[in-house]
């Protein structure tokens, strides 16, 4: 490189023509690689600043208001339930006691579903699980605000979306076990559901990939002039992906009916949110894309529902996309394969200023005279039994200890609409090889291979 730069053909640089070097630097700051760190590490006594924002701080503009009128909403915090779980302010969605009890029941159902699967993972009856403990409101209240025909793209941490829309717990547990009752044929890791009947798109492990897809799905609604809405969810870590920005830009350019959600639960495995953005809020990014951004207390069931309802109505009226940031906290490890004690302070979950979403909604209902401790205890027991009994039921279709052998052809189906010749040959190769090998049964004991046609 040195030789070529002095060659007369390549030319020599003219340092004197670069003027920056001639000016002396005024008051320089230290120049070093800045690597952000979280507020607390193992061994620290964690302490979060309580939310300064109160219910009633922010107005609820018309759903077709210009995005500029929501700038405060992107940097402040929309709350409805105050610290005593009393609802106040323009954002109160005025849900009926029946709707509130439904929300409470769904959040509790999610919690027991998660707890049962964690317990089963520890017993070796499930290989892997991802829980949403502490974040139930962000999915449950969100899902309740959508219509059936709307399309949802959850991440792996929103089981509440599926449960609210009516996906049977049994089907979800069979997917997690990966037995032959799983309608996606055991293809995916646990918690990567797909539920076409409920307009829930197949969940993918790579993060953020589905954000621009969700915008595209909304573009299809706009293309056909259909007043349906698309919702997509991810964590704070995902907001660092290029796909996140692709999604915001396409949303900004084509203005299709969609709602984009960052569930800011503070942690992406061991990566603190400070590594996902150099700024304070994610909702604030919407402004640069001429979109409204709503920053919401994600553990406040009513605030989540209200913000969701606002954004969905805006999209349905033709007002275009919104970005919602749900501020919450990941109480458990990323997954059953993760160990939080290696990277975060023990007491962090307990001192999160947003509290517990179930407890807050329960207190609210009790305050309204629409719920009591006895009812809550009964519901708790019933849902715990439901989760436990459903898991036992799911295992009858095949468990990890006693798996239901899937038909080998299942592996070769759904790669293409019709199984092509080369895959048919590979299937026959597997059959021939399995026939020679006693350890792999070629077919199910309770299903005949000829019941499934290739191609």
């Amino acid at each position: 490189m040195d030789d070529s730069s002095t060659s007369p053909l390549v030319g020599k640089p003219h340092p004197a023509a670069c003027y920056a070097g001639m000016v002396s630097l005024r008051d320089p700051l230290p120049l070093e690689l800045h690597v952000p760190s979280p507020p607390h590490r193992p061994g620290d006594t964690p302490q979060f600043t309580p939310f300064a924002e109160q219910p009633g701080d922010l107005p609820r503009p018309d759903t077709l208001a210009p995005f500029e009128s929501l700038r405060d909403h992107a940097t402040s915090l929309i709350r409805v339930l105050d610290d005593q779980s009393v609802a106040a302010g323009e954002w109160n969605p005025q849900l009926t006691p029946q709707q509130l009890r439904h929300g409470l029941e769904m959040m509790l159902r999610v919690r027991h579903f998660d707890a049962r699967l964690i317990a089963m993972q520890r017993q070796g009856r499930v290989s892997f699980h991802v829980t949403s403990r502490g974040e139930e409101a962000s999915a449950v209240a969100g899902a309740m605000a959508y219509a059936h025909r709307d399309i949802l793209f959850p991440s792996y941490r929103q089981p509440g979306l599926m449960l609210v829309r009516g996906m049977p717990i049994l089907a979800m547990m069979c997917q997690i076990i990966g037995n032959h009752f799983d309608h996606t044929n055991g293809r995916q890791m646990p918690v990567h559901y797909s539920w076409r009947a409920g307009n829930v798109v197949s969940i993918s492990s790579p993060v953020g990939t589905q954000w621009p897809q969700a915008v595209g799905a909304a573009m299809a609604f706009a293309y056909r002039g259909e007043r349906h809405v698309v919702g997509v969810w991810s964590g704070d870590g995902t907001a660092a992906q290029g796909d996140f920005h692709h999604a915001l830009n396409f949303a900004s350019v084509y203005r299709p009916p969609c709602v984009l959600h960052v569930v800011d639960n503070q942690w992406a495995i061991s990566t603190h949110r400070a590594l996902a953005t150099g700024g304070r809020t994610f909702a604030g990014r919407a402004d640069a894309y001429n979109l409204p951004g709503l920053r919401v207390d994600g553990n406040d069931f009513l605030a989540v529902y209200a913000a969701e309802q606002w954004a969905i109505e805006r999209a349905r009226r033709g007002g275009g996309p919104s970005l919602i940031e749900l501020v919450t906290y990941r109480c458990e490890a990323h997954s059953t394969s993760d160990d939080t004690s290696q990277y975060r302070a023990n007491g962090e979950p307990a001192c999160w200023p947003g509290g517990d979403p179930i407890e807050r909604l329960k207190q609210h209902l009790v305050g309204l005279g629409e719920w009591c401790d006895e009812s809550h205890a009964l519901l708790n027991t019933a849902l715990e039994q439901e989760a436990s009994a459903t898991f036992e039921h799911a295992e009858t279709y095949g468990s990890l200890a006693n798996p239901s052998e899937m038909l080998p052809i299942t592996m070769f189906e759904d790669v293409y609409v019709r199984t092509p010749d080369h895959l048919q040959r590979q299937f026959e190769e597997l059959q021939a090889e399995s026939a020679e090998n006693d350890s792999i049964p070629p077919t199910l004991p309770f299903a005949k291979p000829q019941q499934r046609a290739v191609g």
């Binding site: 044929n185 293809r187 790579p206």
Partner: protein, 336 residues
């Protein structure tokens, strides 16, 4: 000499290179404070500081692009992509930018990255935690592609990769991290019983482009890399055949001489890889063997591979090449 598992060997290789070369820096998702989801960078940030070993945002395209910038400006970055399945957001950066930088600048600019990434199946990882995408990168001129199968090679190859002035995609078969794999699902035998787990603490190299003959033999040549080296070895023991087992160790540069010398001797060959069959790197090896060893071949070359489907979760053990499938392919080759 200490014994190490494959993760400890990787960590030791990183430590040695961080010590030796102040331009080496290590970064990626969860690799800093936490030490990586597989613990391959455990303690390195505490030892070398956040300037040398740091966490990144979850953005594989950003990680590799930033690494290219750092690399062309004098550093020797060793970024980690948490799973090989997650490399695709960086595919443009790797294949269009990194691989072609030297060529398009007439040799003026280059970025000597070593991109470490766990690959392969056998951990119930399903579609997105099990892939073996090496062929995408062997198909891209300008990249070296490395995949060790044991702790000693892992460290020596990692040192050579970091010292290499060309970019290297360094695949780590994750099923081998904590023990060799003999094709039995639930068994994880420890590395410490294996001679290849004796790993020197200091600096040493295993050269790129040099295959290893794991087991000499006369009857048939079996060519494998990564996890499949161990499954093939178990299959050879099962079948009681006098097979020569070659562990390629690096796919690019490829040690063709070792392959051809073996096939000329045995006249039979079976190529084993975990990746899907069509356009897998096995196809390239088969083509080279038929070109260079045509008159020595006594049977068609067999391939035992993953099927041409995505990597399934529940049917993982029917997907991954098994000892039985390898033994049967060897049988077909010898019977031909």
């Amino acid at each position: 000499m200490p014994t190490m598992n494959l993760i400890q060997a990787i960590r030791s290789g990183l430590e040695v290179m961080l010590e030796r070369d102040p331009n080496v820096c290590v970064f990626g998702e969860d690799v800093g404070y936490f030490g990586g989801v597989f613990r391959a960078t455990q303690g390195l940030q505490q030892q070398f500081g956040t300037r040398r070993v740091f966490d990144t945002p979850l953005a594989e395209g950003g990680i590799i692009a930033a690494a290219i910038g750092m690399g062309l400006n004098g550093l020797r970055p060793v970024p980690e992509i948490q799973f090989a399945d997650y490399m695709y957001p960086a595919f443009d950066q790797i294949t269009n930018e990194l691989a072609k930088l030297r060529y398009r600048s007439g040799g003026e600019w280059t970025a000597p990255l070593t991109i470490r990434t766990p690959c392969g199946g056998g951990i119930r990882g399903g579609l997105f935690h099990s892939q073996s995408p090496e062929a995408y990168y062997t198909h891209t001129p300008g990249l070296c592609v490395v995949m060790p199968s044991n702790p000693f090679d892992a460290k020596g190859l990692l040192v050579s990769s970091i010292e290499c002035d060309d970019p290297v995609i360094f695949f780590e078969p994750k099923r081998l991290y904590r023990g060799p794999f003999d094709g039995q699902l639930e068994r994880v035998p420890p590395w410490r019983d294996q001679p290849s787990a004796e790993v020197p603490e200091g600096h040493y190299r295993v050269p790129l482009g040099k295959a290893s003959i794991v087991r000499p033999g006369e009857e048939v040549t079996i060519i494998a890399w990564g996890t499949m080296v161990h499954v093939a070895q178990a299959a050879i023991e099962d079948a009681g055949i006098d097979a020569e087992l070659i562990d390629l160790r690096t796919l690019i540069p490829l040690d063709l001489a070792t392959i051809t010398a073996s096939v000329e001797k045995t006249g039979h060959c079976v190529v084993v890889h975990e990746a899907p069959r069509t356009s897998g790197f096995g196809a390239e090896i088969v083509a080279l063997i038929q070109q260079h060893c045509f008159y020595s071949l006594e049977a068609p070359i067999e391939r035992v591979t993953g099927w041409d489907t995505p990597f399934p979760h529940a049917q993982e053990w029917q997907y991954m090449p098994s000892r039985a499938r390898i033994a049967q392919a060897v049988g077909r080759s010898l019977a031909a």
